[in-house]
Subunit: 405 residues, 2 copies
């Protein structure tokens, strides 16, 4: 089903982007597309997904529904994505048939498959954490591979699902052989492809956001990100990212974009240990660590993603303010809707409140708040004040080293 | 018909705004509403209107269709408007039945009925241009009334339709008695209610944008506006508006908002003659002269309009940059779609391009471009460069005094 303002499903001659997925990233992309006069058609699995209420053009179907993907392709100039839950082999057949898939399928593999990403970056001489694939030879053999890895790199070992993880899901910190055996007996037995990675003692985490089109590459200022229990709680621009570290991180992001042939926006999540940077993960799409760009930079990540996938000139990525803080709005323990407390949040001066219209659940990402200004402590405390007003629980750091709350 | 992401037409417990009209103002309001997690239901006369493609909740009907207005009222917490083509008497019955109409009907009358506005402001001691209603006594008697007015205030006389005019339509500059007779023989015979106004020799036009809620009033920096043939071509922030003139204009806008009991955003269009200001027109809604606020101020006119009509705290209205220029994108003489030239416009550094998705027609407002920065000449020339790239014809000033092109 395509419902259109013109009732016909025909989208006319304006640039049209098809988005696989209809979550908050698609919603914020539509806000940018609306401004540019670019049409968007959504492929939504859930008719109540965040983006559907701001779209007159919605197809219903799973991101792996070949029939609906073909229907989407027929209605757009270029197809892009708001998540990684895709079937790369299926998308390769679309690409082969001449559908403009952006980013391209071979680039996307670096965002979908953590082992592939590490191989690709390692081969390009880019700094990844020491790692090893765990061959799926059954729980006992897999535990032995983890122990072998630990004998070279020490305990704890970080075990990751190669595919399908997000927001801390699919990542386990394994402190000893007994824990490794328990994990492999459950996750390993389930046939999830795993990799082992050295546990990095880092000073902080950061993210370098890059956009690349066929003809140019631009990076936004690198930002500090604070995760708790694997979930991003806040982003500070620039936070603890010093100018030389930012320059390194941004150059690294540009090199990775080049190495994988990126078209679109990518977030490179990094660990900083002193001046040293190692790549943690890639997200080949607009990313939570880039939401601050909506008010904090000349061109938002959503607009530049659209520009890149449509082959348009990219916009400036400079920060507009010396300091910006972005705090995620998580569902309150009582399950209440944050929009009922909107007045309290908007009473905080300078708070730019974004709510995604999602059904509230405790701990679920339901929105974010951005505050820009001159003073880092003030923008941060205002952003937290607004997020708390919306019911966001205070973070309780569990993953060492603790962020400096 | 309400089409909804949830398929049911039920909008749930989040704040919901009904908008009568679905043009570009509704479209940009939806962009702001999407960010805040506020739902919007549209009443669109044309299913292809600019806002329909970014809405999953569209009712079809004329703004004076009582049945569809009731359907809209049933689906929203508050009803607002993107144009003045409304039936105030009908809306009064809604208000009487307890529907939250914002701005209220008695305030709206000042935006809909130019004679009522002049009476109201005059009674409040606010500076309106000398004027007189033309009683609809037939062409001959009406021409005599115009001549009487001219004998007190001189030729030329400005004749305005009291209701229904926009973008220079419904405004005539009448240089002599013969022209007055011709106009009254056509327009007067058609039963259009008219008023006569003294022709103001002004230095420039400006606009003061104000937002008022039940508990607070805020004004944005006043801006210079440049009209050609009655159509706004560019807005300069601050342009030729000196700090004392801006302070006067903003104080005046706040007093008018108070005097008419405004809830929402209002643009006060003013003439500046030296330091003296007179009120030209009021628009009780987000306005073309406030589009610059989307990138140029902390809170856009669209977001603050939503905040005001929903009874939420208002956002800061400070300018973020020393200078901002906004240039309207008008349809090119060849009738081509500006979105086909998007690449050329986006190649202009710092150009924020807004296209409304409207069918192109020569001279029609199809979008606008905003550029913010430090240097007034540079932001203006960049904004014009991007607008020209989109096919906007160069202005040819006809109405004295000519703006300083």
């Amino acid at each position: 089903m395509v419902t259109g303002g013109d009732g016909s499903g025909h989208l006319g001659g304006r640039p049209t982007v098809g988005i696989v997925g209809a979550g908050q990233l698609a919603r914020m992309t539509i806000e940018a597309a609306s401004a540019l006069g670019v049409k968007v058609v959504l492929l939504a699995e859930d008719p109540k997904a965040a983006a559907t209420e701001v779209s007159g053009h919605v197809l219903l179907g799973a991101p792996t529904d070949a029939g609906q993907l073909w229907a989407l392709a027929a209605r757009c100039d270029v197809m892009t994505f708001d998540h990684e839950q895709v079937d790369l082999e299926m998308l390769r057949t679309f690409e082969g048939a001449g559908v403009a898939v952006r980013p391209g399928v071979s680039a996307m593999q670096a965002g979908v498959d953590k082992a592939h990403m590490r191989r690709t970056l390692g081969a390009a001489g880019l700094p990844v954490v020491p790692w090893s694939a765990i061959d799926p030879d059954g729980p006992r053999a897999m535990a032995a591979q983890v122990e072998d890895f630990a004998s070279a790199h020490g305990w704890p070992v970080v075990i990751k699902a190669s595919r399908g993880g997000y927001d801390g899901k699919g990542v386990w910190v394994v402190p000893d052989p007994e824990s490794a055996r328990r994990l492999c007996a459950t996750v390993g037995a389930a046939g999830v492809p795993l990799l082992a990675e050295r546990y990095v003692t880092m000073d902080f985490e950061l993210s370098a956001l890059v956009v690349r089109s066929a003809s140019e590459t631009r990076t936004w200022p690198a930002v500090e990100t604070c995760q708790v229990d694997g979930i991003c709680r806040e982003v500070l621009v620039p936070g603890r990212v010093s100018p030389p570290v930012a320059a390194n991180a941004q150059a690294l992001a540009a090199r990775i974009a080049e190495a994988i042939g990126l078209i679109g926006v990518m977030a490179v999540e990094l660990f900083a240990t002193g001046e040293e940077l190692t790549v943690n993960e890639l997200a080949l799409r607009p990313h939570n660590s880039g939401h601050w760009t909506m008010e904090g930079s000349v061109t938002s990540q959503f607009e530049n993603h659209l520009r890149a996938v449509l082959g348009l000139p990219l916009g400036a990525t400079d920060a507009v303010f010396p300091h910006t803080a972005m705090v995620n709005v998580l569902g309150s323990p009582d399950g209440s809707d944050p929009s009922r407390r909107l007045a309290d949040a908007l009473a905080v001066g300078g708070a730019h409140v974004h709510l995604y219209g999602k059904d509230p659940r405790p701990g679920r990402k339901l929105g974010h708040v951005t505050v820009c200004g001159q003073d880092p402590a003030e923008v941060r405390s205002r952003a937290w004040a607004a997020a708390r007003a919306l019911g966001t629980p205070e973070p309780s750091p569990v993953r060492p080293p603790a962020p400096a709350w």
